[in-house]
């Protein structure tokens, strides 16, 4: 955090300088006015010769004071917004090199919240609060000094009374905290109800449940209202309470001051009293602000902790200097004695050995959750093996640059992901310089062009985040087109074409089959034909590869696979 701040140390120095000038002048000018007012003694006794230069000085100083205030505001803004921008850039860059292990474990919403709200609250709270605190403390010290210089008795009265406002604020805050947390809880309850119903509105309507759910909603709504009222009211007492204490101080100062003015040998004049009274007003304001600033500080520090937690995560080990770029991969893959598990205390894949020759097709079968995706994670080096090694064309994949390794695999998974952008941008994601002809050709191959053509703007149609209004099947077709366009030398396919109708599915499968010809492919199999035609089948269960071999070999083994196959056909 200090690193961030020190980047702007010159600006911070400047803003504090301006703030000091502002505070100093804000305190001095009333003094000046006081002195001028003193020159207005009475009828016919006004010292115009002294007033005019005094007022002129006040005019000039006012402009300087305002300029200093503007200056400090601008610089504060710049520091705050620039820090926020830098932090967000750092976080985003970090996200792109974080190991998938971290990203899989942390829900996306959490990271987004850190990116958006935590950064905002940090920059607002810490930086702005800091300068407010600085000005506040300066003001307190300044007014105290000035009051002391004018009249120590008044200063004493003020010092004794003003901490009262701070205590009042703290007292109220502690008690309202309870109501605020209750309110928070009820708010999130209400949000869950809203989320559930609005998110599934069509089902609610299909069953005519609008009224019933409205009643359920109303109940929580009313409870929230009761608690909110208390929370808001009690917290709103702070300001009037502190204003009350301030008014007390003002009255006390007026009294002590007036008494002093009348008393003989007093240096206190009416003009000075006026100044002191306005100081008394100014003195108490920062106390209000400081208690607010302290809570904001706490909040900001909490946010900072979350932000730096993300920024300090260990990134993926970068490619070593000796990493080779994989060129013209043939597709010979050796998986030797590989062991791996996400949770290091439990076994997942143990001592896996698979040898894949160029152009072979490896089918992976197994019940849902058996770990088929794990193999994909290891091949793509989204995770590194715990022991053993995976090599492509004889080179351990850990010695290959991640970029070249990953671009040698074409991946079509169950989860469709499209980026917010045009259809064209999405299809060309793997080959940004593709021409429109190439894009259309790929789309036709994937049987996607017919629906693309019918979109409002064809290839230029903008797709929102989450795929917008496209159906699941259409999204899947676009993902397939994406891979067809980039023509990778090896393939990883998850045959889940569940959202596509049977006819199109058949045609897509023919496309896949053609793609797989001559290319080393790993296919998470969903079709019997894939399994029957595979060069090797990896049978997974409970995260482990329990059997491997060709279809005939596995049947002969009479194990898990054979049982599965036989039991279906009785």
């Amino acid at each position: 955090m200090l690193a961030l701040v020190s980047k702007y140390r010159f600006s911070i120095f400047l803003t504090l300088l301006f703030a000091s000038v502002n505070v100093f002048l804000t305190l001095y000018i009333p003094l000046l006015f006081g002195r001028v007012i003193d020159m207005i003694v009475g009828t016919g006794l006004v010292d115009f010769a002294g007033i005019k230069p005094g007022l002129a000085e006040a005019a000039v100083l006012s402009v300087i004071c305002a300029a200093a205030l503007f200056g400090t505001n601008i610089i504060n803004n710049r520091i705050a917004f620039n820090t926020a921008r830098d932090m967000r850039n750092d976080m985003f860059r970090k996200i792109n090199v974080l190991p998938l292990e971290y990203l899989d474990r942390h829900p996306a919403g959490e990271t987004v919240s850190r990116m958006v709200s935590d950064v905002e609250q940090f920059s607002d709270g810490l930086l702005l609060g800091f300068t407010q605190m600085f000005s506040g403390v300066l003001t307190i010290i300044g007014t105290l000094v000035l009051m002391l210089r004018i009249n120590w008795k008044i200063a004493l009265a003020v010092v004794l009374l003003t901490p009262l406002s701070m205590f009042a604020a703290k007292f109220i805050a502690k008690h309202t905290y309870r109501y605020f947390s209750e309110q928070s809880l009820l708010r999130s309850d209400l949000t869950s109800v809203i989320n559930e119903i609005t998110g599934n509105l069509k089902t609610v309507k299909a069953f005519g449940r609008e009224k019933a759910e409205l009643e359920r909603f109303a109940e929580v709504n009313e409870s929230l209202a009761k608690v909110s009222l208390k929370a808001i009211f009690y917290s709103s007492i702070t300001n009037p309470a502190t204003r009350f204490v301030n008014a007390l101080v003002y009255a006390a100062v007026a009294f002590v001051g007036a008494m002093d003015v009348i008393s003989p040998d007093s240096a206190l004049t009416v003009g000075l009293l006026t100044s002191v009274l306005s100081y008394a007003n100014q003195y108490t304001k920062p106390f209000n602000e400081i208690s607010g600033v302290i809570t904001e500080f706490q909040n900001a520090l909490a946010c900072a902790a979350r932000i730096f937690d993300l920024l300090e995560q260990t990134p993926e080990k970068p490619d070593s200097d000796k990493a080779v770029v994989l060129e013209n991969p043939q597709g010979n893959i050796e998986i030797s004695s590989v062991s791996f598990s996400y949770d290091k205390s439990r076994e997942l894949i143990r001592d896996l050995n698979v040898s894949v020759k160029k152009g072979q097709k490896i089918a992976i079968v197994g019940p849902t959750g058996s770990g088929k995706t794990t193999l994909i994670n290891l091949l793509m080096r989204f995770y590194d093996v715990d022991s053993g090694s995976i090599s492509v064309d004889g080179t351990d994949i850990r010695n290959i640059t991640r970029h070249s390794l990953r671009s040698s695999f074409g991946m079509v998974l169950q989860d469709t992901w499209l980026k917010p952008g045009t259809v064209r941008e999405n299809i060309a994601f793997g080959k940004p310089d593709a021409t429109d002809e190439e894009i259309i050709a790929a789309a036709k191959q994937a049987h996607a062009y017919s629906f693309i053509r019918r979109l409002p703007k064809g290839l230029d149609t903008y797709i929102d985040e989450d795929g917008g209004s496209l159906s699941e099947g259409q999204k899947q077709l676009l993902c397939i087109t994406r891979v067809i366009l980039s023509l990778p030398p090896m393939l990883i396919l998850d045959e889940a074409t569940s959202s596509i109708d049977v006819n199109t599915e058949m045609r897509i499968n023919k496309v896949f089959d053609k793609l797989m010809q001559g290319r080393t492919s790993f296919v998470v199999a969903h079709r019997l034909s894939t399994v029957l035609n595979a060069d090797k089948i990896l049978v997974m269960n409970n995260g482990m590869v329990v059997e491997s071999g060709t279809h005939e070999e596995l049947l002969r083994k009479g194990g898990f696979y054979a049982k599965l196959f036989k039991s279906s056909f009785i």
């Binding site: 601008i74 069509k202 709103s236 009350f244 008014a247 169950q414 569940s498």
Partner: protein, 595 residues
């Protein structure tokens, strides 16, 4: 905006009292400079200690009473703010409930959720702050001016000139910064979208090695946000310095004029002091008002968004007291030359289709993705209205029935199995809140779901967490089927509802459906021939039109589209193994079943 203000209606009394008390408090504050003036002119001048004491006591009293007024005002204003926004939330929720499918499609569920939560909160804050502060500040400012006139009308002219100048400055800053703040919000949204997208697509991005491009795009969006924020900040930063200079210059003029007036004996020195104090009060209030205005802008922006939802009238309205269905009619459902286009689409989903279904028939609807199957069944319960043509249920146009009647006539099992927080029983009761336990068990039995409650600790009272997380896909589907069956509606629609069921359950369920005592007219939508093969008739959809209607055998003989589908599903690469066995194998190996 005006409509939103109407939510304050129930709190008219408090809405008037709050600012009133605030003004009383401000009024008391306005007397302070006058009291100080008296202390100076009378107390100090005459060295009257007792008088000074009395005056200071009055100051104390003013403070105390002011405090009480202020608290009262805060209470009333909190009541209005919370009360009005609670009713607003309720109304919004109710309105959303009345929207029809096409409206929901257009507005988007995320947008609706943000309106209900974040935007309503902004409005609540806005109302609260407005009642507490918006009236106070101008009141103090004008009040100070009025008091100044009572002290010395000549000098007070300075006030009359300064105040309008100040207001012009304040409003100029406010109006120029509002659009800038809206832009900042929009840019912030952009960052949100980028981040979410990058997180969701991390594997694909890394697979294609496009990390650098993502970073560059993000940095661009981020710097746009930065520039917009700084621009907005610059304008707002002007406010305080500008007002400070203006007020100080006014003070200078005031003091000079005051000096002249004192010199000529027109006013006392104490008056000058009082005028100075009033001007200072104005300065303080202006600072407060500046900060308030930003919060109000946000509240106004939110209220505009909420209004937009209210302005969306449901595109489908039902007659209050609808027609009565002719239950003796032979025909259950009739489509006459129906053409329908989804709101976000440019091409019709179904074009000019016509068919008539007899009561009690079992109809299969089959076709490719985008052929219009789901569109057809969306039109039957009137989730959407056709562009042209008529949909008739039991002899009458669907538009003639009230929402209630339609609800009782048609039971739908949607494609996505959605269950809600509550027990299994709670969910089943959605079909009919008055159903007896026997009714529920009957429905479960037909839906092949009795084993589900047998396997759960609390049976039918088992609590379903988070919409059914502790159930498998097949179990969820069977429960949603049971829920629809509880209704005992004369028309039952099953939209691809067997996808998660294995062969045996699929078969038993269809057998049980055919044995239902009240013989509903059933529509089964599917992509698989095996699910519709034993239907009384099958409607074959192709690209929005009906390719054929008939029994399985009839269609095999006469309908090319149907034949194609049949052959691709029956034939395929595996010749030695029948398709149903293949599906069995797939299901047991967990292939092709998404749980």
């Amino acid at each position: 905006m005006k409509k939103l203000l109407s939510y304050i209606d129930g709190y008219k009394k408090e809405a008037v009292m709050a600012p009133l008390f605030k003004m009383l408090e401000a009024l008391l504050e306005l007397f302070v400079p006058v009291i100080v003036k008296k202390i100076i002119d009378i107390g100090i001048a005459a060295s009257d200690t007792a008088y000074i004491l009395r005056m200071c006591a009055i100051l104390f009293l003013l403070a105390l009473v002011g405090f009480i007024f202020s608290i009262t005002a805060q209470y009333f204003s909190a009541k209005v703010a919370v009360g009005a926004s609670t009713r607003l939330r309720y109304s919004l929720f109710e309105h959303i409930g009345r929207l029809s499918y096409p409206d929901i499609d257009t507005l988007g569920t995320s947008g609706l959720i943000t309106r209900m939560t974040s935007d309503v909160n902004q409005v609540q804050n806005g109302i609260n702050l407005t009642l507490r502060l918006l009236l106070r500040s101008p009141f103090v400012v004008f009040g100070a001016m009025v008091m100044a006139f009572t002290v010395d009308s000549v000098s007070a002219v300075t006030f009359a000139v300064t105040i309008p100048v100040l207001f012009i400055v304040v409003f100029a800053v406010m109006f120029s910064s509002m659009p800038l703040y809206r832009l900042v919000q929009k840019k912030l949204d952009g960052i949100l979208v980028s981040t979410r997208s990058a997180l969701n697509g991390v594997r694909v991005i890394r697979a294609f090695g496009r990390e650098q491009e993502q970073v560059t795009e993000f940095e661009k969006a981020n710097s746009e946000l930065n520039l917009a924020s700084r621009k907005a900040g610059r304008i707002s930063a002007l406010l305080n310095p500008l007002t400070y200079v203006i007020v100080n210059i006014a003070i200078i003029i005031l003091i000079y004029v005051g000096a002249l007036r004192v010199d000529s004996g027109a006013i006392t020195k104490g008056s000058v002091v009082a005028l100075y104090n009033y001007m200072s009060q104005i300065l303080v209030e202006l600072v407060k008002m500046a900060n308030l205005i930003i919060s109000i802008s946000k509240a106004v922006a939110s209220s505009k968004r909420i209004s937009a939802v209210f302005d969306t009238k449901p595109s489908i309205t039902f007659p209050e007291k609808g027609a009565r269905p002719d239950m003796d009619s032979d025909t259950a459902v009739c489509f006459r030359n129906v053409t329908f286009t989804y709101p976000s689409s440019s091409a019709p989903a179904v074009s000019n289709i016509s068919f008539c279904i007899k009561k009690g028939e079992r109809i299969g609807i089959i076709g490719a993705t985008g052929s219009g199957k789901t569109a057809v069944i969306n039109l039957i319960p009137r989730f959407y209205d056709p562009d042209s043509g008529e949909v008739l249920l039991f002899g009458r146009n669907v538009k003639e029935y009230s929402a209630d009647t339609l609800n009782r006539l048609v039971a739908v099992v949607p494609q996505k199995a959605v269950l809600f927080n509550g027990t299994i029983k709670d969910n089943l009761l959605w079909g009919n809140s008055k159903a007896s336990d026997e009714d529920l068990l009957e429905a479960l039995e037909t839906a092949q779901g009795l084993d589900i409650i047998a396997s759960k600790k609390d049976g039918i009272n088992e609590f379903l967490s988070e919409g059914g997380k502790n159930l498998s896909g097949g179990q969820k589907q069977r429960l949603t089927i049971a829920r629809a069956l509880v209704k005992k509606a004369p028309i039952l629609i099953l939209d691809d509802s067997f996808s998660a069921l294995d062969m045996a359950t699929d078969r038993n369920l269809r057998k049980a459906l055919s044995k239902l005592p009240y013989s509903p007219t059933v529509f089964i939508v599917s992509q698989r021939i095996s699910s519709v093969i034993d239907c009384d008739r099958i409607i074959v959809m192709d690209d929005g039109s009906i390719a054929g209607i008939g029994t399985h055998d009839e269609l095999l003989a006469t309908c090319e589209t149907y034949r194609e589908i049949y052959l691709t599903q029956k034939g395929g690469a595996s010749n030695a193994v029948s398709k149903s066995s293949e599906r069995n194998f797939q299901k047991s190996a967990g292939i092709g079943v998404e749980i």
